[in-house]
C-alpha cells in the first residue's frame, strides 16, 4: 500500500535576522506519501546532519494542527496546497513524484525571520496583552450557569475562538494585515455576556496595538479567510469594525 515519491526542495535558508537569505536546493528520494510534510523535513534534516551540515530550522510542536506553531509557506500558500490544515497536517500524498516544492517562512514586516524558516510572532502576544481578555481575577466568580447564553451565540463564539494564532492570515495578506486574528478574539468575547462589558475598550486597545506594531490595513481581499487553516470567517472583521466604530463614536 505504501507509495513513495522523489522530490526536489527549494528551501529558504537565512542564518540570522539580519543575514541575507537565499534558496538552497535539496533532492529527496523515497519519501513515503503517508508521511506528513514535517516528517519529510525531518528526513531532510537527518540527511543534512549525517552530512555534517546545518539542519533547517523551522517552528513546530504539537504536530496535530492545534498549537499554531508551524508556519511554512509551501508553494506559495501558507500551510501549503491542502485546505483547512496546518503544515503539520499536510501530507506528502498531496504532492506528485518529481515535483519541485518551494518552502519559505512567513513573509511579513511584523514577523521578522529568526533563522531559516522560523519567524518571530511576538507581535500577536502583544496584541492579546493589549486587551484580548475579560478582566476578571481568579476566584469569587458566580456559578457557571448563572448567565444562560443562547446556543447559537455560544457556537459562534466558539467558531471565532478556534483561531490558533499561527499568522497564516497575515502571511496571506498583501497588506500584511492582522485583522482576521484581532477580529476573531474581539468577536469571541463580544458575543458572550462575560466579554460584552468591555467590548469597546478591548476593540480600541487591540486595534491601536496592531497599528503600532506595523501590521497593514484590511482591504477586503479575503485572502486571509481562504488560507486560514481553521476557517475563521471574515464576518468577524465586520463585527470588529462595528465594535470599533461604536467605540470611537462614544469618544
Amino acid at each position: 500500500m505504501e507509495k513513495t515519491i522523489n522530490i526536489t526542495l527549494k528551501v529558504w535558508r537565512q542564518a540570522s535576522p539580519k543575514a541575507k537569505g537565499a534558496f538552497e536546493t535539496y533532492k529527496l528520494d523515497g519519501i513515503s506519501t503517508e508521511s506528513s510534510f514535517l516528517e519529510m523535513l525531518d528526513v531532510l534534516n537527518e540527511k543534512l546532519v549525517s552530512e555534517k551540515k546545518e539542519p533547517v530550522v523551522f517552528d513546530h510542536d504539537c504536530r496535530e494542527g492545534i498549537c499554531g506553531m508551524c508556519s511554512l509557506y509551501v508553494n506559495g500558500h501558507p500551510h501549503g496546497p491542502d485546505e483547512d490544515v496546518t503544515t503539520c497536517q499536510l501530507h506528502m500524498r498531496k504532492f506528485k513524484n518529481g515535483e519541485t516544492i518551494t518552502v519559505e517562512p512567513w513573509r511579513s514586516a511584523a514577523f521578522p525571520v529568526i533563522k531559516d524558516l522560523m519567524v518571530n510572532r511576538n507581535a500577536f502576544d502583544q496584541i492579546i496583552q493589549a486587551g484580548g481578555y475579560v478582566s476578571v481575577n481568579t476566584g469569587g466568580i458566580p456559578d457557571a450557569n448563572a448567565i444562560p447564553i443562547p446556543k447559537p451565540k455560544a457556537d459562534e463564539a466558539m467558531d471565532a475562538a478556534s483561531c490558533i494564532g499561527c499568522g497564516a492570515c497575515v502571511a496571506a495578506c498583501k497588506n500584511g494585515s492582522a485583522m482576521l486574528f484581532v477580529s476573531a478574539k474581539v468577536s469571541q468575547l463580544a458575543l458572550l455576556p462575560q466579554g460584552k462589558i468591555e467590548a469597546a475598550r478591548r476593540a480600541k486597545a487591540m486595534v491601536a496595538k496592531m497599528d503600532e506594531l506595523g501590521f497593514g490595513n484590511c482591504t477586503n481581499t479575503r485572502a486571509c479567510e481562504a488560507e486560514c487553516p481553521k476557517n475563521v470567517s471574515i464576518s468577524n472583521i465586520a463585527r470588529l469594525n462595528r465594535e470599533f466604530i461604536t467605540a470611537k463614536l462614544k469618544d
Binding site: S32, V43, R63, K115, A144
Partner: protein, 647 residues
C-alpha cells in the same frame, strides 16, 4: 534513612482543605510586591499559576520554550474537563468524583489530594466561563455535559473537540492581562537547564535563551515547575515534539524526589503507527467512545483477509464482529478506563485479531451512532476529530470505521510533592502533569485539565504563601552569588561536552532506539526479564549517546540539534528510572501492568499488603543506584477493592 512528610492536614476528608486554608500563613499585599516567583511552563498549570500569582501582587517571571505561551501542549487536549457540578442531575457529587478518581487510579493516589481536586473542580468551570471560554451549551442556554471513561455520570464539560485549546487560551488571556499590568514578565523561547539551590532552598534557575544561545541566570524567592510529563521518553507519543522531562530531571539531580516513574498512561484511541519516519502519534479523543463502538473481527480468517486488503470492515456482518469491550465489561462497555481499554486492544491484536496493514489496530465504529442520530449530529459532536483523522489517514470515518491503537499519552508519575505541592526541596514547587500527586496509577479522561487548572488557579496560590510568609525578610539575592556561578558553569560544561563528542549518530537516531526499548520492555506489558533487559539496554544507550552522538556547533542560534540532545540526555535518565521503578513494583496497578501479576481473566492484580506506597526515588550521584523512599498510602476513608467495571 530519609523520612517523608506529606503534610496531610488532620480531620475529616471533606474538611481538610478548608482547615488548611483557615490556618495557613498568608503574605500581606505590600510584601507580595517584594517577592519574586519563577514559574517554568505556560500550559494549563503554569499559565494559570503565573496569572493568579500575578493577580495577587507577586512579581512573577514566567518561562516557556515555545514562541508563545499559547503553544503549550495543554492546547492539544481534546475531549473535556471534569467537574462535580451535577448539572444533569444524574447523581454526581464531590464525593463521587473523588471516589471515581481514586478508583480509576487503582487506589494508588492520596485520598486528601484527590478530594481537594474534586472539591475545587466546580470553581474551575465558573472561572473559565467568566474568562469567556465558549463551552458547549444546550438550547436553553445552560452548559452541556458528556461522559468519559471510568464514570457512570455525565460530568465532562467541553468546547467541541478543542477543550484544552479553549481552557489554555483562557489561562493565556488571564496571563496576558498580567503581562500588560507588569506583574508577570514573560520569557519566551527560553529553556530551563538547572535550578539554583542556596542554603538548601530553591532560589532561581539557569535558562538558555534558545534564540541567542546565551545561558542566563534568574533569581526568585520560590520556583514553580509546570513543565508537563515525560511521555516523549518513548520517542513516539501523543506529546508535542518539544515536550520533555528535563526540568524534572534537573531538580531530581538537585534533590527533589521522583515519584512513581513507572506510572505512564497508554491511551487506547490513537491513530496507528504508519512507518519508520513517523515523528509522533495523534490521539483521537476519548469522547469518541461515547458514540463509537470498538471491535475486531470475530474470526481470525476475516482479520487476515482484512490485513491482506481482500476484505473491508464494512463487509463484515454484525454477528462476525467482536465488540470485545462490551462483551468483557457489560457495565461500562466502551467507556472503561484507559488502561483497561488499552490492554484489551493489545490482547486482541496479540491473539491475531488485529486489523490494518500491520495487524496492530482495532476498529472504532460510528455506523450505529450515525444510524441512530444521523450524520449531522455526529458531525456536530466530533466534526473536527473526524476531519483530523481523514487528513492523516486519508479515509472517511463517516463511511468506514476508524482504526486505532494504544500509544503513550500521559505520565501519572512525576516530581514528588506534599499536600502543599512543594517538592522535597524547600521553595521548589511542582504543578500539573509535572507532579505525581492526584492520578495514582492511572488517570481518568478529562482529569488532566482539571488537575492542571486546580493546581494553578486554586491550590498553589494558597499553599505557596504558607512558604513565602517567612521569606519576606529575604532580600533579592544577586545572581553573581557563587551558587549561580556554579550552576551556570555546570550547564555550560554539559553543552560543551555534547558539542565536543562529534560522533556518528544523530540525536533522533539514538532517541528512536531508546523509544523502542521503552515500548518493547517498559510499555503496556512488563515482566521481570524484560525490565532487566531494558535496564541493560538503557545503560548501553547512555554510553552510546555520550560517546557517539553528533551535535553540530552552529554559528547562529537556534541550534535545534543541541536542544534535542540536552533533552535526550535527560530522557535516558528517566527511561532508566521508569524501568527500575517498574521492576521494583511486583504487582499490577492501573497503567503499570506486570504480566506475572494478573487475575485469571487477565485484569491487573494489585498487592496492597506489599505495594500500597508511593515509590520516591532520591538521586545518589552519577553511576550510583538512587535511594528508594516509601510514602505509605494509608486509606482512611475508602476501602480498597479489586477494580470492577463489569457489573
Amino acid at each position: 534513612m530519609t523520612t517523608i512528610n506529606s503534610k496531610i492536614p488532620a480531620g475529616a476528608l471533606a474538611d481538610k482543605w478548608k482547615e488548611y486554608k483557615d490556618h495557613q500563613k498568608l503574605v500581606n499585599p505590600a510584601n507580595k510586591r517584594r517577592l519574586d516567583i519563577i514559574v517554568v511552563g505556560t500550559g494549563l498549570a503554569g499559565a494559570s499559576a503565573a496569572a493568579s500569582l500575578g493577580e495577587l501582587g507577586f512579581n512573577v517571571l514566567n518561562f516557556c520554550i515555545q514562541d508563545s505561551p499559547r503553544r503549550a501542549h495543554s492546547i492539544a487536549a481534546q475531549g473535556g474537563i471534569n467537574a462535580a457540578k451535577n448539572y444533569p442531575n444524574d447523581g454526581d457529587s464531590v464525593y463521587r468524583l473523588f471516589y471515581d478518581t481514586i478508583k480509576g487510579g487503582d487506589y494508588r493516589a492520596r485520598e486528601a489530594n484527590v478530594y481537594r481536586l474534586a472539591e475545587v473542580s466546580n470553581s474551575i468551570i465558573d472561572q473559565c466561563v467568566a474568562q469567556g471560554v465558549p463551552f458547549a451549551r444546550e438550547y436553553g442556554g445552560l452548559l452541556d455535559n458528556r461522559s468519559f471513561g471510568g464514570a457512570q455520570v455525565s460530568r465532562t464539560f467541553y468546547a467541541k473537540g478543542q477543550t484544552g485549546q479553549q481552557l489554555l487560551l483562557g489561562a493565556y488571556s488571564a496571563l496576558s492581562r498580567q503581562v500588560n499590568k507588569g506583574t508577570v514578565k514573560l520569557y519566551t523561547r527560553y529553556e530551563m537547564l538547572d535550578v539554583v539551590i542556596i542554603d538548601g532552598r530553591a532560589r532561581g534557575i539557569i535558562a538558555r535563551n534558545l534564540t541567542t544561545g546565551k545561558v542566563e541566570r534568574f533569581f526568585a524567592h520560590a520556583v514553580v515547575i509546570g513543565t508537563g510529563g515525560y511521555g516523549n521518553t518513548f520517542f513516539l507519543s501523543t506529546n508535542a515534539m518539544g515536550s520533555n522531562g528535563s526540568a524534572a530531571v534537573q531538580i531530581y539531580k538537585k534533590g527533589a524526589y521522583f515519584a512513581n516513574p513507572a506510572y505512564a498512561q497508554i491511551h487506547p484511541t490513537c491513530i496507528p503507527v504508519h512507518g519508520e519516519f513517523q515523528s509522533k502519534l495523534t490521539l483521537m479523543s476519548e469522547s469518541l467512545r461515547n458514540d463509537g463502538r470498538i471491535w475486531t473481527p470475530k474470526k481470525k480468517e476475516d482479520a487476515e483477509a482484512i490485513r491482506a486488503g481482500k476484505l473491508k470492515p464494512t463487509d463484515l456482518k454484525e454477528e462476525d464482529r467482536d465488540y470485545y469491550l462490551e462483551r468483557r465489561y457489560p457495565a461500562f462497555g466502551n467507556l472503561v478506563p484507559r488502561d483497561v481499554a488499552s490492554r484489551a486492544a493489545k490482547e486482541r491484536c496479540d491473539a491475531g485479531f488485529g486489523v490494518g496493514t500491520t495487524g496492530l489496530a482495532v476498529y472504532l465504529d460510528f455506523s450505529e451512532a450515525i444510524n441512530r442520530l444521523g450524520e449531522n449530529v455526529v458531525r456536530a459532536r466530533y466534526g473536527n476529530l473526524f476531519q483530523m483523522y481523514e487528513k492523516i489517514v486519508d479515509e472517511n470515518p463517516y463511511k468506514t470505521p476508524m482504526m486505532i491503537y494504544p500509544a503513550i499519552h500521559y505520565t501519572m508519575g512525576g516530581i514528588w510533592v506534599d499536600y502543599e505541592l512543594q517538592t522535597s526541596i524547600p521553595g521548589l514547587f511542582a504543578i500539573g502533569e509535572a507532579n505525581f500527586s492526584d492520578h495514582g496509577a492511572n488517570r481518568l479522561g478529562a482529569s488532566a485539565l482539571m488537575q492542571g487548572l486546580a493546581d494553578g488557579y486554586f491550590v498553589l496560590p494558597y499553599t505557596i504563601q504558607n512558604y513565602l510568609a517567612d521569606q519576606i525578610q529575604v532580600p533579592r539575592i544577586s545572581t553573581d552569588a557563587p551558587e549561580f556561578e556554579d550552576a551556570e558553569r555546570g550547564v555550560k560544561e554539559r553543552i560543551q561536552k555534547l558539542l565536543s563528542i562529534q560522533g556518528k549518530r544523530s540525536v533522533d537516531n539514538i532517541h528512536k532506539e531508546l523509544g523502542l526499548v521503552m515500548w518493547d520492555f517498559v510499555g503496556m506489558g512488563r515482566n521481570e526479564a524484560g525490565l532487566k533487559t531494558a535496564l541493560e539496554r538503557i545503560k548501553e544507550i547512555r554510553k552510546e549517546f555520550w560517546s557517539n552522538v553528533y551535535v553540530p556547533e552552529t554559528e547562529t542560534n537556534p541550534n535545534i540539534e543541541l536542544e534535542k540532545a540536552l533533552r535526550l540526555a535527560d530522557f535516558i535518565e528517566i527511561g532508566e528510572l521508569m524501568a527500575r521503578d517498574a521492576l521494583l513494583r511486583e504487582e499490577s496497578c492501573g497503567g503499570h501492568f506486570r504480566e506475572e501479576y494478573q487475575t485469571e481473566e487477565g485484569e491487573a492484580l494489585r498487592n496492597d499488603d506489599k505495594f500500597a506506597y508511593v515509590s520516591c526515588w532520591k538521586y545518589a550521584g552519577e553511576g550510583n543506584e538512587p535511594e528508594l523512599i516509601k510514602e505509605d498510602l494509608t486509606y482512611e476513608f475508602v476501602k480498597r477493592q479489586q477494580r470492577n467495571y463489569k457489573s
